[in-house]
Symmetry: none
Amino acid sequence: MASPAPEVDISNAGSDSSPAARVVRATVVQASTVFHDTPATLDKAAKLIEEAASLGSQLIVFPEAFVGGHPRGQNFGDWKTKGRESYSKYHASAIDVPGPEVDRLAALAGKYNVYLVMGVIEREGYTLYCSVLFFNPQGQYLGKHRKLMPTALERLVWGFGDGSTLPVYDTPLGKIGSVICWENRMPLLRTAMYAKGIEIYCAPTADDTTTWQASVTHIALEGGCFVLSANQFCQRKDYPPYPEYNLSGKDEDGPKPDSVVCAGGSVIISPLGTVLAGPNFKGEGFITADLDLGDIARAKFNFDSVGHYSRPDVLSLIVKDHRAAPVTFTSAADQISRA
Amino acid sequence: MASPAPEVDISNAGSDSSPAARVVRATVVQASTVFHDTPATLDKAAKLIEEAASLGSQLIVFPEAFVGGHPRGQNFGDWKTKGRESYSKYHASAIDVPGPEVDRLAALAGKYNVYLVMGVIEREGYTLYCSVLFFNPQGQYLGKHRKLMPTALERLVWGFGDGSTLPVYDTPLGKIGSVICWENRMPLLRTAMYAKGIEIYCAPTADDTTTWQASVTHIALEGGCFVLSANQFCQRKDYPPYPEYNLSGKDEDGPKPDSVVCAGGSVIISPLGTVLAGPNFKGEGFITADLDLGDIARAKFNFDSVGHYSRPDVLSLIVKDHRAAPVTFTSAADQISRA
Amino acid sequence: MASPAPEVDISNAGSDSSPAARVVRATVVQASTVFHDTPATLDKAAKLIEEAASLGSQLIVFPEAFVGGHPRGQNFGDWKTKGRESYSKYHASAIDVPGPEVDRLAALAGKYNVYLVMGVIEREGYTLYCSVLFFNPQGQYLGKHRKLMPTALERLVWGFGDGSTLPVYDTPLGKIGSVICWENRMPLLRTAMYAKGIEIYCAPTADDTTTWQASVTHIALEGGCFVLSANQFCQRKDYPPYPEYNLSGKDEDGPKPDSVVCAGGSVIISPLGTVLAGPNFKGEGFITADLDLGDIARAKFNFDSVGHYSRPDVLSLIVKDHRAAPVTFTSAADQISRA
Amino acid sequence: MASPAPEVDISNAGSDSSPAARVVRATVVQASTVFHDTPATLDKAAKLIEEAASLGSQLIVFPEAFVGGHPRGQNFGDWKTKGRESYSKYHASAIDVPGPEVDRLAALAGKYNVYLVMGVIEREGYTLYCSVLFFNPQGQYLGKHRKLMPTALERLVWGFGDGSTLPVYDTPLGKIGSVICWENRMPLLRTAMYAKGIEIYCAPTADDTTTWQASVTHIALEGGCFVLSANQFCQRKDYPPYPEYNLSGKDEDGPKPDSVVCAGGSVIISPLGTVLAGPNFKGEGFITADLDLGDIARAKFNFDSVGHYSRPDVLSLIVKDHRAAPVTFTSAADQISRA
Amino acid sequence: MASPAPEVDISNAGSDSSPAARVVRATVVQASTVFHDTPATLDKAAKLIEEAASLGSQLIVFPEAFVGGHPRGQNFGDWKTKGRESYSKYHASAIDVPGPEVDRLAALAGKYNVYLVMGVIEREGYTLYCSVLFFNPQGQYLGKHRKLMPTALERLVWGFGDGSTLPVYDTPLGKIGSVICWENRMPLLRTAMYAKGIEIYCAPTADDTTTWQASVTHIALEGGCFVLSANQFCQRKDYPPYPEYNLSGKDEDGPKPDSVVCAGGSVIISPLGTVLAGPNFKGEGFITADLDLGDIARAKFNFDSVGHYSRPDVLSLIVKDHRAAPVTFTSAADQISRA
Amino acid sequence: MASPAPEVDISNAGSDSSPAARVVRATVVQASTVFHDTPATLDKAAKLIEEAASLGSQLIVFPEAFVGGHPRGQNFGDWKTKGRESYSKYHASAIDVPGPEVDRLAALAGKYNVYLVMGVIEREGYTLYCSVLFFNPQGQYLGKHRKLMPTALERLVWGFGDGSTLPVYDTPLGKIGSVICWENRMPLLRTAMYAKGIEIYCAPTADDTTTWQASVTHIALEGGCFVLSANQFCQRKDYPPYPEYNLSGKDEDGPKPDSVVCAGGSVIISPLGTVLAGPNFKGEGFITADLDLGDIARAKFNFDSVGHYSRPDVLSLIVKDHRAAPVTFTSAADQISRA
C-alpha cells in the first residue's frame, strides 16, 4: 500500500483561516471490508487510519459500506430460505449507531487527530441502512448520512434514508458532507448539498466503471467543490467461499482467489474539474491530495448552481429534512423501557 | 399438564447478546381463573409458575383476566338490580395496581427467576380495567398495559385504557409487550407496538375460535415477531352455579360440569408464521417453545412494516401516548391525603 | 331530637378492608348557630357531637357557617355606617385557623373518636372565608376547604377561596371531602372532587328549598357518592333582635320568635339516588344513616363521570390547585422578619 | 293523545325580540317508535308533528332514538349468532344523515312551520350513532348532535360521538341544543353546553326513573335554562314478539301486550326549577308549555355556572370540538368515487 | 376450468338497495399470464371474462400483473448486461394507462356487463408500476391503484406508487377497492382502505403460501369486508425457456414443463372469516361465490376497526393522498407537446 | 466533411412503435457561424442540412448561436462608446421569432424531411436571447427554448429566459428538447427536462473543454437519455478582423487565420454512457449516430432520476413554467391597439 501523496509542504496549512488560503491534505482509503467479520474490519480500519494520518492527512475518507460490507454477491434473491440466512448474517455484521463500534471509530479519529468519514452498514432494529458516519479530531461522533436510495439488489437489504440525515459539517478544514454511490446521480440531492455549502464532497461508492469518473468530474464542476470518491478494491479471496457467496456470473467458472471483484477507481477532483489524485484501479492503497480551498472561489466565479447561476424564480427545490417515521409518539420519549 | 418443550439445549442462551444467536424458552399457561376467589387464583398461579419454571422457561405468559376473571356469563345486562350486585362482586375480585396481589406476583417472578406476563382485572377507584402486568426475574413489577378497547359485553364492566400504557420492555430475552384479545385486531395499535420494536408479542385472549388462529399467524408475519397467545381453558364447573352465572344460551339446557366454556387454543407462532407449539384445544396445560430470536431478522428481511416496507411519506400514524384524564390538577400531586 | 338510625350491627365495620364490605354510620347535625356568641356555639357543638357519637356515628357533619353564623339578615347593605358596625361584630365572631377554637374542635373529635366536618367562618387578617374544617378521631385538625364562590349577599362579607383548599381525605371510613352550598351547583368544582375520588361528599348548605333536594340527589348519582347535606334549622329567636338583624322582608311585619327562618332539609342520599335519611324540615335534629360503601361500586357500574363515562379526548378539565396570592415573592420565604 | 297545553294567548310571541319578553310555546312528544319499521315511524312522526303544531307549538322535541328505536330488549349479547342478526336488522332501521328520511323530516318542519328536534339512530357506514337532528321552520336540516357516551348495553351497538357535534343553534326562539339521556349526567358536557349559551336545553332520554326528575330539575338550575325532557312511552305490544325481542327478565313470565316497558316521564322545567308541564307517566301524549325566556335572566341573577359563578382561575374546561377520526386524508376530499 | 358457484338464485340482486339485502356473485380468475405476449394475454383475458360472466358473475377479479406478468424468474440481477435486456423486454410487455389495451379491457367489461378488476404492469415513461385497473359494466375505465411497495426482487423493476391511487369505488355491488400482494401486510394501508369504506376488498397477489391464507382471513375479520384473493397458477411451460427465464433454484435441475411455479391458492372469504370459495391449489380455474353484503353489518357489529372499535383519541393515521412527484410544474399542464 | 455513420439499415425505423424497437439516425452539425452575415449563415445552414439529410439523418442539431453568432471576442466591455456600436451590429444579426428567417428554416426542415434543432440569437424588441428553435419534417416551426442563464460575458448581451420556454416535443423519433451550454450544469433545469420525459437531449454549446465531455456523459447517465452536444468549430478567420473582434488575449500577438478559436468537441452519447460518435476536435463536420431508443429502458432499469430513483417525499422541485413579465395587465389582452 503506497501513498501517492505529493511532496507538498503543508506545515503552515491553517495559519491563514480564509478559505482562499487554506490547503487541506486529504486521503481516500481504497480497501476491502473483511467480510462477515466486523471486529477484523475495525482492526483493519484502525491500521489504515494510522497509516493515512502518518502521511499528514487531516481528513480520511473510507468507501461505502466498509464496515459491514457491500452485499454484492450475497444470495438474497432466494428470499424464502437461503436469503433469510444470508440476511441474518449480514444483519449481524452491521453496527448500531451509536454503539460500541462507533465509539471505537470516534476514539481512532481522536487518537490520530483527523476528520474521519466512514461508510458503514447501520442497523436500526431490523432495518439496515447504508450510512456514512462523521467523526472529528476531538474524538467525537458528529452524525451520519443515510443513503436515500439504494440501487438494484441493494433494495432487497437496505432501507431508505430520509431528509433528516443530509448533514454538512462546517469544520476548520471546510464544509464536509457525503453522498453515497448512485445517490450522486440524483440531481436534486446534489443540489441540496450544494445549497448547504458543501466544499469537501465525499462520495463513497461501489461503482468501479469509467462512467463513474465522468460523473465525479461533472459533480466537481457543477457543485464547485472537491470531490473525494472512495471505492473498495476487492478480490475474490476477500469474500467467503462459494456457495455462501456467489459473485454473479463469476463463480460458475471458478474465479481465482486474486480475481478482481471490485476494481476501485478512487479519485480526488478539484472544483475546476482537475484530477488531483487517482484514479487507482490497481489495488488497495491511499489516494492523497492537498486541496487548495481557494479553487472553490475560482470555480464559483464561472458557475455557481445555487448562487449566481441559479434561477429561483423558475426552479425551486423543496427539501423535506424532517425525520420520516411511520409512527410518531406524541410524548417526547418514544423509547422503550429497559427491564 | 404436560410440557411439549423440545429437547433443546438452551443452557447457554444469552451468552451471545446478538439477537441472531439468542434462543429463549417461553411457556404459555392455559388455565382457568378460580372465579370470585382471587386468593385461590393467586395460589393456582404460584403453582403454575413453579411448574413452568421447572421446564426451563424464562418467560411465562398467562391468559387475559386470569386474576379477576373474564366477565363471560355474568349477569350485567340487568343494570338496575342484579347487574349491580354482579358488578359489586366482580369489583371485589379485581386488584389494585400496585397492591398486595401485585407484590405477590412480583415475588413469584423473582423466586422462579422468570419474566412473567399476567392478565388481571385492575381496579382503579370504581373503574375496572382489563390489564396485563409485567414482572422481571429480579422480582420487580415493571408496569402494565390496559386494554384500550373492550369488546361487546366487556364494555359494560371494563373501562377504556389510553395511550400511556402501551409498554414494550427491552429485556435480555428480547423486547416484550402485550396486546389483549381483540385489540389484536386493531391495525393501528399493532403498528404502534411494532414501532416500539416488539419482538415477543404476548397476546392474552378470550377468543377460542379458529379465526383467531388466522389472526395470530398474520400478526406474527405482519409484525415480524413471536406471538404468544394465551387463553383460558374453562369448564362449567370453574364458574359459580346457576343462576349467579348464566353462560349465555348454555345454562338453559343445563350444561354438565365438564362442559367446555372456553376451549383455549393457546399457541406460539414464529415471525415466519410457523406454529411452534399448540394450539391446545384439549384442556389446561403448558404450551412451551424455544424462540430463536434470529428468526426475527430472517422475517424482517422479507417484510418490515415499520422499516423498509413502510411508506411514511404516504401513511403516518400518530400515537398519543400521554395519560388521558378528564381532570388534570396543575400541581404535581393529584393524590388525596391519608387522614 | 330523635335518631332514625336503624338497628344495624356495625361493630366490626372496617374489619374487612374491601369497599364492598364497609358500612359507615354517619350523622348530619341540623342545628342553629348561637349568633354573635362563638364560645356558646362551640359549647353547643360539643354537646351535639357527644350525642351524635352516642348513636354510634363515626362521622359527624355540621352545617355551613355553624361557627360564626350565616350572615343572613345582617345589615351589610348600608356600607358607610351601620354596615361597618355589623361587619365588625361579624368579624369578631369568626375564628382563626389554626387557633384556639380549632384546637377545641380537634379535641372534641378525639374525645368522641369521630371524624368531624364543621362549617365555620374563618378569619384571615381582615378577610373572612366560609370554610369547612376536617378533624380525625386522633384529635387532629386535618385541613380545610374554603368556599370558592359566595352567593348573592354573601359576596359582601366573604372572600373567595382558591384551588389550594379542595381536599379529599382518604380515611378508613372512605374518602371524605366537602363542597359548600351553591358551590354544589358548580359542575366543574364537583368534577374536581369526583376526580379526587370522593366517596362521602359533605354538603353543608344554607339552602332550604325543595329544588336543593333535586340537586343533592343529582349529585349523588352524578358523582357515584354518598351526599350528606347539612343545613341549619333557625328560628327568628335564634337571631339578635330587630333592628340589629332584619331578616329580609319579614321583620317589617314582626315575625314571631318561633317563625322559621331557615327550614333545614338536611338529608343523606346514597350513590344510587336513594334517600337514606331525612330530609328534615321540622326542627333541629340528627339525620343518621348507615352508609353501605358497596353501593358505590353498584352505582359506578352504571355511571362513572370520571371513569368509564368520561370522554377525556373531548372534555378535559384543568384544576389550578395552587395557592392564589396577589403578591408573590421570588425568594422561598415570603415571611416578614420578627424584630 | 291529549294535549295538556294551557290556554295561553301567545299570538304576539316574538313581537318583542328581547329575551325578557319572549314567550315560546314548546311541545315534547311522548310516543313510541314503531319498531323495525322506519317508514311507519316517520308516518307516525308526521302525524304527531301535525298535531303538536296545531297546538300552536313553535318547537317540537321527540324522544331519544324515536327513529330507529332504542335497542332495549334486543338480543345483542349473543354476539356470535343471534346478536349479528339483531344488529343487521337494527342497522337496517337506522338512517343516513343526510338522506331521504332527513329530507322528509326537514319538509315536515317546513310544512308545519316549527323547529323540530328529533332523536334518531344514525347510520354511518357500519357504525350506528344515537343522534339528535335539528330542523328549522324554513324546512332546513340544521345539523346534529351525536351522543358522546352510550350507556350499558347501548355500548354494544352505538358508536361514540365526538366534540364536533355539540351544536347550539341561535334561533328566534332562543338558543337550542340537545344532550341525550345519561350524557346529561356528564358535568363537563353540560358545562360545554352552558358555555355555548344554551337556553332551551332538549334532553331526549330513555330513563323513566324518578331520579331522572331530580337530574333535569338540577340541570335547569345549574344551567339557568329550560329543560325539555322527552322520553318514549312504550308497551310490550310496540315491540316485535318473543323471542325476537326478549325484554329483560320480563318475557320469561309472559308480559301482557299492555305491559309498560318504558313509562315516559317527559317533563318541561323552567330555569328556576319549576315544573311547567308533566311529568307524564300515563301514556303517549304531548307535554306543552309556554316558556317565558325572561326567566333565564331571573335565574342567572342567582347563579350562572359559566358567568359570575364560575372560577376560571381555578377551574377551566377544555373542549376539543374537532372531528375525531381514526384516519385523515390530507386531500380535501376523503370521499370515495361513484362508479 | 370448472365453476364451483353454488346454485343460488340471485336474479333479483340489487332490487333492494339496502346493504343487508344485497347478494353479489363474484368470480376470481386464477390463470397465468402469457409471458412476453401482451396481445395473447389480452385474448386469454377476453375468453376468461366471457366464461366468468356466463356463470352470472357481476364482478371478476384477475391476479396481480396478469397483463405484463410477474417478474418472477427473470434475470434482472445482472444489471449491467442481461438485466438490461430483460428489462427492455419486460418494459415492452407493459401497457400505458390509458392506452389501447385499457380501451380493450373497458370494452370487455361493457360487453359482458361486469365490474372488472385487472392486475397489470403499467408503463409510465421508463418506470413500471404494478397496478390494478378498475372497469364498470358501462364499459368505462374507472381508475387504478398502483402498488405502494414492491417486495424483494420486484424492487428492481417496479416503481413505488403513492397516496393518490388508493381508490375505493362506490358501485351498486358495494364499495370496491384493491390492495396488491404484500401491501396487504401493511397495516396502515389496510386501515386507509377500511376508512374509505371498502366492502369488496380485492387482493390480487403472487403469494401462494399457506400463511397467505391466514392473512386474508385476518383481513376479512379486521376490515369487516369480503376479501377476494386472486393469484396466478403458473407452470414452467407458461414461461420462456431457459436461460431467458431461470426460475430461481429450479432450472438448475431442469424442471418439467408441468412443474408448478406458482400454485395459486385464490380464495374468497366473508367478513365473518368464513371461506366461501377456494382456495384452489390445483390448477387454473374460477373461484366463484355469492357475497351476502348483509354479512358486513353482522361482522361490524362485533368489530369495526375504523368505527366503534377505533380509538382516534389515541391512534390517528394520516394518509397523504396527493400525487407525489419529484417535479411539479406550476402551470396546470405538465404535458409535453405533440410535434 | 465525412460522415462516420455506420452502414446500418434503418429504412423501416418507426414501423414498430414500441420504444424498444425504434432506431433514429441523428446528426450533430459542427460548424461556424458566418459572423455578422445572417443571410450567409442561413445559406450555409441550408447546405449543411441538405448534406446531413443525405446521410439518412432524421434529426439535425446545430450549435448554440449558429444564427447570429456567439459574442465571443466582441468588444462589449467598453460600454459607452465602442460597446454600443458592437451591440448595434450584433442586434442587427439577430432574428425575430417568428420572422422570415424562421420561415426559411421551417421550409428547409420540410424540404429535407427532418427534425431540425437550431441555435439562434433571438431578438425581441431590444433584448436578445440565446435561443434554440425546433422544426418538424412537415415544415413547421414548433417552438423555442430560451437560455435561462447566460454565462460570464454573455450576460452583457443576452437576456434571461424563463420557465415558459422549456419545451419537450413528443415526436415519432422520441421526445426532443434542448438545454444550452452551461445551463447543462444546472441540476434543477435538467431535472425539469427529465420530468418532461426527454429522450433526445440536444445540448448546443460553446464549451470545447474536456471537462465538458465528462458533463455530457454524466447527463446521459443521470437523465437516461441520448445527449447530442453540438459546438461550433471556429478559426480566427471566421471572425471579423482585429480590432472589431479581439479574441481575448490572443489577438495582441496576432493569431494566424487558421488558429482555432473554438475547438468543437461535438459528441453523441447513449443513455448507458457510451460515446456513439465524436468527440470531434479536428474541424467542421458531421457527427452521426443511430440511436437505439431501446437503450433508454435499459438505462432507466438501473437508474431513473424522476422515476424509481426519485424521492419526492424528501426532494421536490417546483418549476414555475409560466411567462415571467415585468408588467401584467389584468385584462386578458395585453396588446396595444393598432391605430
